[in-house]
Amino acid sequence: MQIETALLVAFLFGIATYLILQKSFVRILFGFVALTNAANLFMLAMSGSPEGRSAPIINDSPLPSVDPLPQALVLTAIVIGFGLTVYLIMLLYRIFLDARTTDSESLFKSEAGDE
């Protein structure tokens, strides 16, 4: 379980880095979505291997529960990441409406031409 999670985190970080370095806003946006999720998953994986452990809620299970703290933390982080993503979408949409382009290179080049 730990190995798979580690691979998934690495995969997500890789995808995110690749997408953020693209020119198109839409890809950059997806890159950030992947990035926040990679960080969240990484945080969650810090509670250790869940095998042979019970969920950290009140139940009759004789097994010891997994460490609940990273799960509590990741809830906060998910909410924050969600808010940021929504804000980023709105900002990029506004820039698209103003500049009529989703290509970050041409967006900042036209400005350099004005000066």
Partner: protein, 503 residues
């Protein structure tokens, strides 16, 4: 229950009351927010007096009475108290300045609540004693700053907000990963606990990895080379009152957290990291001041100066002797006041000339000798001419650098100071000295007078720091000593946390 929660709670409640009870902008709402900001400043002063009466021994509050690894602690030591006072003071002045800047009928309804939210995030960052809570405080601060950055931006400028947002979201994701890593390594997120466990681990590579990750995160926030490029382009789209607030506080929050991490949390034996930090600091101040020379509008020049000055603070941290840390704290105090007041002076100039582009400015010295005098004092202070406050800050940093035999770095710092003076002269010659542009200079209206008075108040404080350098430095000394004294910090936190935390 002591009053440590109030520097965070008061701005949050003000923001809520402001948007719920008052709703739309109006004179009553303005008075209410100004009174609340003044109350926050008085509270911060009160807390600072209490802390320094106890010789900088930290005051601690367990939120909700939760113990050790479950709960969150707020800790107020000397440095945090100083930063609280500065943050609330700058917020009060900037709020008053924004009243003069924008008439009530043009005010954005969300502006004041967001400014208060920003203060809440900043204050919580100063107070928190928990790594994850620090992340949350950072996010409160950053989200408010994103919103304020785009709130009044026009269609041309708004694209500059995108790099700011992108770099900071990247930083947040990295911070979250670093916090996760720290939890896996140390089994706790409480800073005092981490300090105990990190000291046990000694020189382990994994500890260094966490430190470097955290330094990248806070380096982005502070604007250290090569992570500063988002700053000089995004700050100029802010109005001057917000610019003063951002430039005075946001980057300094990054510096504060670096101080906190390196001095209080992690062992004092990370020599390789200090060495790397010192060279990055040298590059930061030189490259950023060259950027400032290349700009031709006041906000652009001042934005690059923020980064350049960060270089001095980080350099002082990187020397890492008790004296150097005290010098860094002194420099932060000096810099926050001077930088914000330069922004306010520039904002007043904007109203005289209706532009802050140097090509279209002029005649300010004749129109307002007072403003010219204020600008000259603060510009010289920024460059470090005695007996103004900047001189003492730089003198202390140079002295500790020479003591440690770091001649190249001190040389770079001196060069950067000279270039700072040149770029300040550029503003002086263009905006103040040259004859007025074709449109002429506006007559001083009541708002312009009010702005000049506010800039004057800031300049007086700054002069006070310059002439009263000795008592201010003594405070920095006490703050630095308690900051470096890890066992005192741990004792203060653990005595509150109860027996569970002792191990």
């Amino acid at each position: 229950m002591n009053s440590l929660i109030w520097p965070f709670l008061l701005p949050i409640l003000t923001a809520l009351a402001c948007s719920l009870a008052f709703g739309l902008p109006g004179v009553g709402r303005r008075v209410f927010v100004a009174l609340s900001a003044a109350a926050q400043f008085v509270l911060a002063l009160f807390l600072a007096v209490r802390t320094f009466q106890g010789e900088g021994v930290p005051l601690v509050l367990n939120i909700g009475g939760w113990s050790a690894s479950l709960g969150i602690v707020l800790v107020l030591d000397g440095l945090a108290a100083i930063m609280l006072c500065l943050a609330t003071f700058i917020s009060l002045i900037c709020i008053l300045f924004s009243y003069a800047e924008t008439p009530v009928r043009f005010e954005q309804p969300l502006r004041l609540p967001l400014m208060q939210l920003l203060v809440a995030g900043i204050n919580l960052t100063f107070l928190t004693g928990d790594l994850f809570n620090l992340f949350v405080a950072f996010e409160i601060m950053l989200v408010a700053s994103y919103a304020l950055l785009t709130l009044e931006a026009n269609d041309q400028d708004i694209k500059e907000a995108f790099p700011y947002l992108a770099v900071n979201i990247f930083g947040s994701a990295l911070f979250l990963s670093a916090a996760g890593l720290a939890y896996a390594l140390f089994g706790t997120l409480n800073m005092a606990h981490i300090a105990v466990r990190a000291a046990e681990m000694g020189d382990a590579f994994s500890v260094k990895l966490v430190v470097v990750l955290l330094l990248v995160v806070f380096g982005i926030k502070a604007g250290i080379f090569p992570l500063y490029y988002w700053l000089p382009n995004s700050y100029p789209i802010l109005s001057f009152s917000l610019g003063a607030f951002y430039s005075g506080l946001l980057t300094k929050v990054g510096v504060y957290v670096i101080l906190r991490m390196l001095c209080t949390v992690f062992p004092h034996t990370l020599d390789g990291i200090y060495g790397m930090l010192s060279w990055l600091a040298g590059l930061t101040m030189l490259l950023a001041v060259l950027g400032a020379l290349s700009r031709d509008f006041i906000r652009g020049i001042l934005s690059f100066h923020i980064v350049s000055q960060i270089g001095y603070m980080v350099l002082a941290i990187a020397f890492f002797t008790p004296l150097a840390i005290a010098a860094c704290i002194f420099y932060v105090i000096h810099h926050i006041i001077v930088k914000s007041s330069l922004y306010l002076i520039g904002g007043t100039g904007l109203f005289y000339n209706r532009s802050d582009s140097l090509a279209r400015m002029g005649g300010l010295a004749a129109a307002s000798p007072w403003l010219a005098a204020l600008f000259l004092l603060q510009a010289l202070s920024l460059a470090g001419i005695p007996p103004l406050s900047g001189f003492w800050g730089k003198y202390l940093i140079f002295a500790t650098g020479l003591e440690g035999g770091r001649y190249w770095l001190v040389g770079a710092a001196v060069l950067a100071s000279i270039l700072t003076l040149i770029s300040m002269l550029k503003i002086w010659l263009a905006a103040f000295w040259q004859p007025a542009p074709e449109g002429g200079v506006s007559k001083p209206t009541p708002p312009i007078r009010a702005m000049t008075v506010l800039a004057g108040v800031m300049t007086c404080v700054s002069l006070g720091i310059g002439f009263g350098a000795e008592p201010v430095f003594r405070l920095s000394r006490v703050a630095a000593e308690s900051l470096m004294n890890q066992s005192q910090y741990q004792e203060a936190v653990f005595s509150r946390l109860g027996k569970e935390a002792g191990q």
